[in-house]
Amino acid sequence: MSWLNRAARGIQSLAKQKDVPDNLWQKCPGCGEILYRRELERSWYVCGACGFHLPLDAVRYIDLLLDADSWEELYAGVTSVDPLGFRDSRRYPDRLRVARRQTGREDAVITGRGRLDGLPVNLAVLDFAFMGGSLGSAMGEKIARLLLDASSQRRSAIVVSRSGGARMQESLFSLMQMAKTAAVLARLREEGVPFISLCVNPTYGGVTASFAMLGDLNLGEPGAMIGFAGPRVIKQTIGGDLPEGFQSAEFLLEKGQLDQVVERRRLKATLATILRWFCEDRDVSIPGPVRE
C-alpha cells in the first residue's frame, strides 16, 4: 500500500473518530490491527504493532513536547476576517463559523510559550481540524508574533506544521503570509535564535513553501506526506502514476530535504538534545524563570 493511501486513511479514521467520539477501538491504517483507544492515548497514537503514526490532535502536541504545566497560550484571540468577501458554494464567514464551533479555536494554529525539558521555547502547532490547517492572515500574524517574541526574548522556536497549504479564501492575503513569516525568520536567523520545523502528516503548499522548510533543522514524522504540489496535481501534470513512497518523509529524507525522520515518542528527547546543542553556553533559551 502506498504511503499516500495510508496517510489518506489515517485522516479518514480521524474523521470517523470525531463522528463517534465514544468508540473504544480503532483499526490501524498501517497494519489493520485493532487498537484500543486507551492504549493509543498512552502511545501518542502510534500503533504498537507496526509503528504507524495515526493523526494526533494539535493540542496533544503541546502535551507531547512541553513540560507539564509550563504552557502559556498567546494570541488566542487573533481571529480570521473575510477581507475579500469570498464566496464559493458557501460564504467564507460561514466556513469560519463551522470551524470555530468544531475546534473551539479562533483559527488554525495554537501559539504560546512553554518549557521543553526545562528549556524555554516558543511553540506553534497547526490545527488541521480547522479548515485543513490552512495559512491565512490570522495564522500568519500569530506565527509572526510568536517568532518576533522568540527573537526579542531569545527563546528557541518550534513550529509543528500540518496543513493543506494556503487559505484560498484569502487569496493574495494568504500568499503574503508566506513572505511575512519568512521575513521574521530571516531576523531570527541573523540573531542566532534557533528555529526547528517539524512536518507531520500532511504538510503541503504554502506552508511547506514558507516556514515549514525554513528550520535550522527540518524534521518529519514517519510516513508523513510532505510536498509543495499535491499528489493529484502532480499526477495530472505528468499524466502517470507516482513512484511508491513519493513525498513521504522517508522519501524527503533520502532526497536530502529533511534532517531526520523522528518517531513521535522520541520527539521530545530529540528536540531537547538538538536545542541544548544550539543553546548551551549561549544567550538563548536560558533555563530559569521566564524572562519578560
Binding site: L175, M176, K180, A229, G256
Partner: protein
C-alpha cells in the same frame, strides 16, 4: 495605433481589431486611388479609442486573466530589451542546471548598474515547451537567488519581473525541493541589503511568483493578476469544477486594482490602450518610468532603514481581528 494587428485575439478584443483593420484597408485604398479619406480615418480612429476604452473599462476579472496570459503579451525578455541599455544574461544555479523558465543578468537602467531577472514564457508552442510555460523548477529559483546575492555583494539594486502560472508541479521539482527553494528565496529576499523592486507583468501565480516577489516596492501592470492559486486550481478545489475558473477569478479578487486597494502592492503601472500586448514599447516605457521613480527613493535609504522598512511592510500585510 498599435504596432501590430497579428493575432491570436481574445473574443472581447475582436471588435477593436476589426475596426483597426477597416482603417488600414481604407488608408490602403486611398493611397492607391488618391481619394482623401483623412476625415473618415480620424473619425474611425476616435471611434476605435472610444470602443477600446469602453471595453477595457468594463473588463471582468476573468478577462484580465486572459489578458495577463495573452499570447502576445510582452515577456520578461521583451521588457528587458526595451527598458535597459545593456543586458548581460547569466545562467545556471551551479548545482543542477540552467532553468530556461527564469532569465536574469547584469543590466543598466539609464546607465546605472542593476541586476534584472524574471520568469520567462515562450511566444509559441516550441518556445513555450523550452521555457516550460514560465513554470520554474527549484534550480530556477536557486539561480535567481544566486544572482540576487551576486547583486548584493556588488551593491546593485535588483529588479524582478513576475510572469508565471506557478512553480512547476512535477516529480523532479518535488525531489529537488520545490518548496524549500521557494521558501529559501522568500527569507533571503526579505534580508537583502540592496533595494529591490518587483513588477508583476502578467500572471502572478502563487508561490512560484512570490519566490521572485519579496521586495521593497511591488507593482502590477494594469492587466496583470496575482493570486494564491490559479483560478482553475481554485475552481477545481472549491467548486469541484475547473470550468468555474471565471467565478474563482472573481472571488479571489486577483486584479491589480484589488491588490492596490488591499495595500498589498505599492502601485499600478498603466498599460497602453488595448493592453500591453498591443504596444510593447509603450508598456516598457511605463514600467521603466515606475522603476526609475522607485529606485530614486530607495537608493537614498541606508541599509538598516531599507531592511527595517521592508520587514515592517510585510508585517503589516494581512487582515484579522483580535478578541480579548
Amino acid at each position: 495605433m498599435p504596432e501590430t494587428t497579428k493575432g491570436p485575439w481574445l473574443d472581447f478584443e475582436r471588435p477593436i481589431v476589426e475596426l483597426e483593420e477597416r482603417i488600414r484597408t481604407l488608408e490602403a485604398s486611398a493611397a492607391v486611388g488618391g481619394v482623401d479619406v483623412a476625415d473618415e480615418v480620424a473619425h474611425l480612429r476616435r471611434k476605435a479609442v472610444r470602443l477600446s476604452d469602453d471595453i477595457f473599462s468594463k473588463l471582468e476579472p476573468w478577462q484580465r486573466v486572459q489578458l495577463a496570459r495573452h499570447g502576445r503579451r510582452p515577456t520578461t525578455l521583451d521588457l528587458i530589451e526595451r527598458i535597459f541599455t545593456q543586458f548581460v544574461p547569466l545562467h545556471g544555479d551551479r548545482q543542477f542546471r540552467d532553468d530556461p523558465a527564469i532569465v536574469g543578468g547584469l543590466a543598466r537602467l539609464e546607465g546605472r548598474p542593476v541586476l534584472v531577472l524574471g520568469h520567462q514564457k515562450g511566444r509559441d508552442t516550441r518556445s513555450n515547451v523550452q521555457r516550460n510555460f514560465g513554470m520554474a523548477h527549484p534550480e530556477g529559483y536557486r539561480k535567481a537567488l544566486r544572482l540576487m546575492t551576486l547583486a548584493e555583494r556588488f551593491e546593485r539594486p535588483i529588479i524582478t519581473f513576475i510572469d508565471t502560472p506557478g512553480a512547476y508541479p512535477g516529480l523532479g521539482a518535488e525531489e529537488r525541493g520545490q518548496a524549500e527553494a521557494i521558501a529559501h528565496n522568500l527569507r533571503a529576499m526579505a534580508a537583502l541589503r540592496v533595494p529591490t523592486v518587483a513588477v508583476v507583468t502578467g500572471e502572478g501565480g502563487s508561490g512560484g511568483a512570490l519566490a521572485l516577489g519579496v521586495a521593497d516596492r511591488i507593482y502590477m501592470l494594469e492587466n496583470a493578476v496575482y493570486s494564491v492559486i490559479s483560478p482553475e486550481g481554485c475552481a477545481a478545489i472549491l467548486w469541484r469544477d475547473a470550468a468555474k475558473a471565471p467565478d474563482a477569478a472573481k472571488a479571489m479578487r486577483l486584479t491589480a486594482a484589488d491588490a492596490f486597494r488591499h495595500t498589498l502592492i505599492d502601485g499600478i503601472v498603466g498599460e497602453p490602450v488595448g493592453g500591453a500586448h498591443r504596444d510593447h514599447a509603450a508598456a516598457a516605457l511605463a514600467v521603466k518610468a515606475q522603476l526609475l521613480d522607485a529606485l530614486a527613493e530607495l537608493v537614498a535609504l541606508d541599509q538598516k532603514t531599507l531592511r527595517e522598512r521592508r520587514l515592517a511592510k510585510y508585517l503589516a500585510m494581512g487582515e484579522w481581528t483580535e478578541r480579548r
